[in-house]
Each structure stands twice: as structure tokens, then as C-alpha cells.
């Protein structure tokens, strides 16, 4: 074979690659050549993805200048970060509220402050707790897609009649403990059969225990993971290991099914009460219809009545990554999602509460969660709190979870676990601050 023939084969290969690349770009925009195509990456799959698809379709039909191309992407946060670094991010990325500070510190997000102001999307438009979650360093970085507040869910059929209504259910931690002692059951072999409550189920908000006992993870610029309130919370958590037996709890929990299945411990009747989000009702409707339940605010320590009605807030958010090609058009879609009717439709579909200050009666009437008014009221409470607004939140959360597990597996005392966690996170925070400051110079 001659050199010319091999070179010819090479030329053909290069031409094919060029055609494939250009062709992909042409085809991907063919459906809407006269419109600006906005690429939107979202984390959701299944029914939640479908609800947002309906919103996207409605937006695409509502005007003739912008076409939103909606893609359901797994690992959306990591992929958005890498695509942003590579200079080819999507125009819109649906991430989580707890990532905003980290992404903003890295300069990965478009500042939406001015566009938000011009569109009338300001502090007065949103419930304060949710507005606080999308702002950082006095700038607006995201807009909500669907938010949530958290409450204690109770299985009506697994608690005694004297406490089986929201009105009669114990309001305090101490009252809850007494109830747990009354209703928890063990099998003949010593294993747990029914737990009245388990602090480690579902184990998604380990960072929040300090707050639920009145503490804070950050006090200004200082990490305060081992505050007296946090130690008290972890000591209380430790009592459950002692009450049921640490190994028995581990064994019992290993038999829990996935939360999105009929084997979910709350639906399956293995736990009588569980801290969970507003979305839980939707899951029960799908996986175990007819489960008798009600929701109450998370109990508070008896000597801290000021904490009554507290809750944890979280939200999924829409952001425009840095370097997005169609910022103005992307914001048009974000603005559309914030319309009261659109937002209420989306939140109803997702079984969540609305982040907006104004909520229609229709929203409450049509909502699939019968306790939606409670979740809405909790979200509006001044005692509602979110994750600390620091760029190291992912590390902080991981470290607190490790401390939590060290206590529940009896490897360390609550104080020891939290002191170790404090030392480590403080060091991470100091390093982070120096790095961000260095990068900003």
C-alpha cells in the first residue's frame, strides 16, 4: 500500500469526523431554525421529569422566539461543572440549593440580580426562607423550581388512639421519646419489629440536628459544629442506640427498602414516625396507596418552646451557568417558571409546596398532599432554616454524617465525634477561604 493511499484514508477519516460534528449541530437545531435554542439540563427522571417537560412544552408553545430543549441528565451538577470549565455549558442547569454557594464561589454561575430585579423577582415575591436560599453574598444566583419543607410523618394506625391526631400528638422531643418507648416492639429473637422513631431514618438531614436543638453550624465566619446544642442533639441521638441496641438498629435498618418502593420502612410499618419532606405523600400514593398518616411539625426540646414550628427547607433550583450562550433567552424561561400559575402547576405535579409568597386557594385545594397547608405554614415560619451558606457545605455535610455514624455505631461519644468533626471542618474552611481569596486576587 502506498503512502498516498494511507494519507487518502486519513483525509477521509478527518472529513467524516468534521461532517459528524457539523451535522450534529445542524440537526440539533433543525427543529427550530428560526428560534433561539436554549439547552436545559435537569436532574429529574420519571414523573418529576415529565412534569417539567409539560412546563417546557407550554413555554415553547407560548411564544415563537425561543425553543427550550429539555434534557434529563444524571449527575447534572458534575457534568454542568465540567461543561462550564470546558466552555460549553448548557444555558440552564437544574441543580440543588445546597450547591449554589460552591458554584458561585467558583464563578460558575451567571449573576441573576439585575435581570431578577427588572423582572420583579425580588425578596417580596418569595417566601423569605426560599429567597434566602437562592441568594449568596447579596447577589441572586438561581431561581426556584420546586422547594420543600420537612415535617414529622406519623402512621395513624401504629400510634395509640390518644395521640393519633395532629392535635394530640406529642409536641416535644421528650413526649416523642415516651411515645417511642410505649409503641416500639421487639421480636422473640431480640431484633426490632417496630421502631417508634429512629434518628437515622432516613438519615438525609444529619447536618440539621444541631439546628433542631437550637444550634448553628456557622456563627458568622466561625465553624460551630460542636456547639452545646449540637452535643445535646447527638447525645439524644445516642440514647436511641442505647434504647434499642446499636447492632439491633443496624440490623433492623439493613432490612429497610428504598424510599421509592413499597418496602420503604414507613410505608411498610417498620417505623411509626419519620422525618420526611412534603413529597412523601406522593410516594405513598404511588407505592402504598391507602397508608394512613398525618404530619406534624418536628418536635422540639421541652425547654426550648421558642423552637416550636421549626422546619428544614430545601429546594431544587434553576441556574444559568457562566459562559451560557443564550443568557437572555434562558432567563425568559426561568421567569416563565416563576409565574404563579406555572409554579403552582409544577409544584402540584411534584407534590411540593410553592416557594412564592402568594399562593392561590386552588393550589391548596388541588394539591395531592392533604397536609399541604401545614408544609406551607412551616416554610413561612421564621424558624425555618436551610443548610449553612458556605462553599464547603458538601464537605461539612459529609463530615457531620461521619460524626453521626460514629455515634450511632458506638465508635465515639457524641462530644468526641463532634469535636473531631469541628477540628476537621474548621481546617477545611480555613483552607477554602485562603484558596477562594487567592483565586479572587
Amino acid at each position: 500500500m502506498t503512502t498516498q493511499t494511507v494519507a487518502g484514508m486519513w483525509a477521509a477519516a478527518v472529513a467524516l469526523v468534521v461532517c459528524a460534528t457539523v451535522g450534529e449541530k445542524v440537526v440539533s437545531r433543525q427543529a427550530s431554525t428560526d428560534k433561539v435554542t436554549v439547552i436545559y439540563w435537569e436532574k429529574w427522571t420519571g414523573s418529576e421529569a415529565e412534569e417539567m417537560r409539560k412546563v417546557v412544552t407550554a413555554f415553547n408553545h407560548s411564544q415563537d422566539k425561543i425553543f427550550v430543549k429539555y434534557l434529563s441528565i444524571s449527575g447534572v451538577d458534575t457534568k454542568t461543572m465540567l461543561a462550564t470549565a470546558g466552555g460549553d455549558p448548557p444555558d440552564i442547569a437544574g441543580i440543588w440549593q445546597d450547591q449554589i454557594c460552591q458554584f458561585a464561589d467558583e464563578g460558575a454561575l451567571t449573576d441573576l440580580t439585575d435581570m431578577g430585579k427588572a423582572a420583579g423577582l425580588d425578596t417580596s415575591y418569595y417566601i423569605p426562607g426560599f429567597w434566602d436560599g437562592i441568594t449568596f453574598r447579596k447577589r441572586l444566583w438561581a431561581l426556584p423550581s420546586t422547594p420543600a419543607s420537612i415535617a414529622l410523618h406519623v402512621r395513624t394506625d401504629l400510634v395509640p388512639p390518644d395521640v393519633n391526631t395532629p392535635e394530640t400528638f406529642p409536641k416535644t422531643i421528650e413526649g416523642l421519646d415516651k411515645l417511642v418507648d410505649r409503641i416500639s416492639k421487639k421480636r422473640k429473637d431480640g431484633g426490632l419489629q417496630l421502631a417508634g422513631f429512629l434518628p437515622s431514618d432516613p438519615g438525609w438531614w444529619n447536618w440539621a440536628w444541631s439546628g433542631l436543638f437550637g444550634g448553628k453550624l456557622m456563627d458568622g465566619d466561625k465553624v460551630t459544629i460542636n456547639s452545646p446544642e449540637a452535643i445535646r442533639a447527638f447525645e439524644w441521638i445516642d440514647t436511641y442506640g442505647k434504647k434499642f441496641g446499636s447492632k439491633e438498629v443496624q440490623s433492623f435498618q439493613s432490612g429497610f427498602g428504598n424510599f421509592g418502593s413499597p418496602q420503604d420502612p414507613f410505608m411498610d410499618g417498620k417505623v411509626a414516625t419519620e422525618i420526611n419532606g412534603v413529597w412523601k405523600a406522593n410516594y405513598m400514593k404511588v407505592f402504598k396507596p391507602g397508608t394512613p398518616w398525618f404530619a406534624v411539625p418536628i418536635p422540639y426540646p421541652a425547654d426550648r418552646p421558642d423552637l416550636a414550628g421549626h422546619t428544614i427547607l430545601s429546594q431544587d433550583v434553576l441556574t444559568i451557568p457562566r459562559g451560557a450562550k443564550h443568557v437572555k433567552e434562558a432567563f425568559e424561561f426561568l421567569k416563565y417558571v416563576q409565574r404563579q400559575d406555572v409554579m403552582e402547576g409544577l409544584c402540584t405535579g411534584h407534590g411540593k409546596n410553592s416557594p412564592l409568597m402568594k399562593v392561590s386557594e386552588k393550589f391548596f385545594d388541588n394539591h395531592p398532599n392533604k397536609s399541604i397547608r401545614l408544609f406551607d405554614a412551616l416554610a413561612r415560619s421564621p424558624k425555618a432554616f436551610s443548610q449553612p451558606k458556605v462553599g464547603i457545605y458538601p464537605q461539612m455535610s459529609s463530615e457531620i454524617t461521619v460524626a453521626f455514624q460514629e455515634v450511632t455505631t458506638e465508635q465515639k461519644t457524641p462530644k468526641q465525634a463532634l469535636d473531631d468533626c469541628q477540628a476537621r471542618v474548621q481546617k477545611i474552611w480555613d483552607t477554602y477561604k485562603a484558596q477562594v481569596a487567592g483565586a479572587d486576587k
Binding site: V6, T78, G107, S251, S398, V402, R424, A439
Partner: protein, 291 residues
């Protein structure tokens, strides 16, 4: 070879050479550079000298993940080798339908990692897992394989045995290369099965054992997918938090790519040192035909 042939040869090899340079050499050198920087991927890298390496030396989680990885490797590598050799020896016997048996024993190693992890979550479930139900039937109190920090690494080591099929095939090939005349001579001398295994089989397949042990060691240091799916965040309390998981978290969760690059290079050096040590150790114990 004349110049024209050389040119044609290079042109044919060029796709591989380009791929190797772009996708292996460049990332390798880039990661070495990034390991001396503060780099989050989203901002330009800033030189910090050896700070990442110094920080690693003082990082408790780094040492925890490294010791977890070593403990896993110490358990998994020899056990996998023993199981694979035993299986290969069994599958090297003259039994009817051997091809079917060989296929059956090899098939498990083709199961995708995530599917495997999900399957073992059910088998090792502490409450109603297949294994513990079997233990209870014979009145043995079973451990909590997935929840007890003392047992989680053992669980992973046992799961690793599932993938012994790959090594088994290589051992089988090695066993089939052992000259039959050696066994015949041993038979004439009245050697027992154990004596033949010790004095003929194992020495003759020792180069294969060395290869498999080194590959197994490298693979063990890179264990990721199964613990990542079965034990999120290395739960409970980092008992199953392995080196690659911490590296991954630093790179993609905490956006500390410079730190993660330094971790990658430390692991590379550890692997090189252990491989060289294994090669040195093998000089006296590995027998090469004609060598």
C-alpha cells in the same frame, strides 16, 4: 525496511499513537502539573508548590482511606488468587461437559459492577438477606454484613471472589501449558496429588501467579464501583471509604482537582513501588521455562 515502508507503518500506527498521546500521556502530565496547584477546574490553576502533598500527609481521611484500601487489598488479592487457582485446577481435570462448567464459572465475571452491587445488597442484607437467612436456619447468629463497621470490608472481600473468573481463565491457560511429562515422571516416583501440586503445578505456573497477583493488587488499589454503590460515602463512618472514593469526591464533589491529582500521583508511586517489590521478591520464587 526502507523509508517508504517505515512511513506507511507510522501512518498506520498514527491513530493509536495520537490516541495514546492525547488521552494518556497528556492527562498524565497535566495531572502531575495540577498536583502542584490549587485547581478547581472552574478557575485557572494557581501554583502552590508541594502544599497538596504536605496537606495529604496531615489529612486523617487520606490515611483512613489508604489504610482501608490496604486492608482490602491484603484480604482480597491472596484470597482471589487461591480461589482462582483452585477453580482453574478443578476445571483442568478431564470431566465430561467441561466446556459447560468453564462457561458457568466464567460467566459471573461478566456481570456489570453496578448490577453486581445491587445483587449483593440483597444477598448480604443483615435482616432478610439470603446469606443470613441460611445462617439462621442452622442456628448461627449472622453478622450484619452491610452495617457493622467490623464486617463491611470482609463483605467487600467476599464479593471480590465473584469476579475470580477472569484470573481463573489465565490460570487455566497456564495449567494447560504444564508439560504432561512432568506429571508422568512424578507419578512414576509415586508422588501424591499435593506433592505434584507443590512441586510441579505451582512452580510451573508461578509466572502466571505473579502476573495475576500484580494485576489483582493494582485492581484492588483502584476498587471503586461496588463500594460506591453499596456503601454511599463509605458508610458506616468511613469503614468502607476507599482511596479512589476520596479521590473522586475531592475531584468532582469538592472541586479540589489539584488535591485529587496529588492523590492520584501518590497512588501511582505506591503501585510502582509495590510492583517493583513484587518483581524483586519473585526473582527467587518464579520459575521461567528455559530461564
Amino acid at each position: 525496511m526502507n523509508k517508504r515502508d517505515a512511513r506507511v507503518g507510522i501512518l498506520f500506527a498514527l491513530p493509536w499513537i495520537l490516541g495514546f498521546m492525547i488521552f494518556t500521556i497528556y492527562p498524565l502530565l497535566a495531572s502531575l502539573f495540577f498536583s502542584f496547584t490549587n485547581y478547581s477546574v472552574l478557575r485557572p490553576p494557581a501554583m502552590v508548590g508541594a502544599a497538596n502533598y504536605v496537606d495529604l500527609a496531615h489529612d486523617g481521611v487520606f490515611w483512613k482511606s489508604l489504610s482501608n484500601t490496604f486492608l482490602y487489598a491484603i484480604g482480597a488479592v491472596p484470597l482471589s488468587a487461591v480461589i482462582a487457582i483452585i477453580l482453574a485446577m478443578l476445571l483442568n481435570t478431564k470431566v465430561k461437559g467441561m466446556a459447560v462448567y468453564r462457561t458457568i464459572f466464567f460467566l459471573p465475571s461478566l456481570v456489570p459492577m453496578v448490577a453486581l452491587a445491587t445483587l449483593f445488597l440483597w444477598i448480604f442484607n443483615g435482616d432478610y438477606g439470603l446469606l443470613n437467612v441460611a445462617f439462621k436456619v442452622v442456628h448461627i447468629t449472622p453478622p450484619n454484613w452491610l452495617g457493622d463497621p467490623a464486617w463491611t470490608k470482609w463483605t467487600l472481600i467476599l464479593i471480590t471472589m465473584w469476579g475470580s473468573g477472569q484470573a481463573m481463565i489465565i490460570y487455566l491457560a497456564g495449567l494447560q501449558d504444564v508439560p504432561v511429562s512432568l506429571y508422568e515422571a512424578a507419578d512414576l516416583d509415586g508422588a501424591t496429588f499435593w506433592s505434584k501440586t507443590k512441586n510441579v503445578t505451582l512452580p510451573m505456573i508461578s509466572p502466571v501467579i505473579l502476573f495475576n497477583v500484580i494485576m489483582g493488587m493494582i485492581g484492588s488499589f483502584q476498587v471503586f464501583a461496588i463500594p460506591y454503590v453499596m456503601f454511599p460515602d463509605g458508610a458506616p463512618a468511613r469503614a468502607t471509604y476507599f482511596y479512589t472514593m476520596y479521590l473522586f469526591d475531592n475531584a468532582f464533589k469538592y472541586q479540589r482537582m489539584g488535591y485529587a491529582s496529588a492523590m492520584g500521583w501518590v497512588m501511582f508511586l505506591i503501585t510502582v513501588i509495590l510492583t517493583l517489590a513484587a518483581m524483586k521478591f519473585s526473582e527467587r520464587h518464579v520459575h521461567y521455562e528455559g530461564g
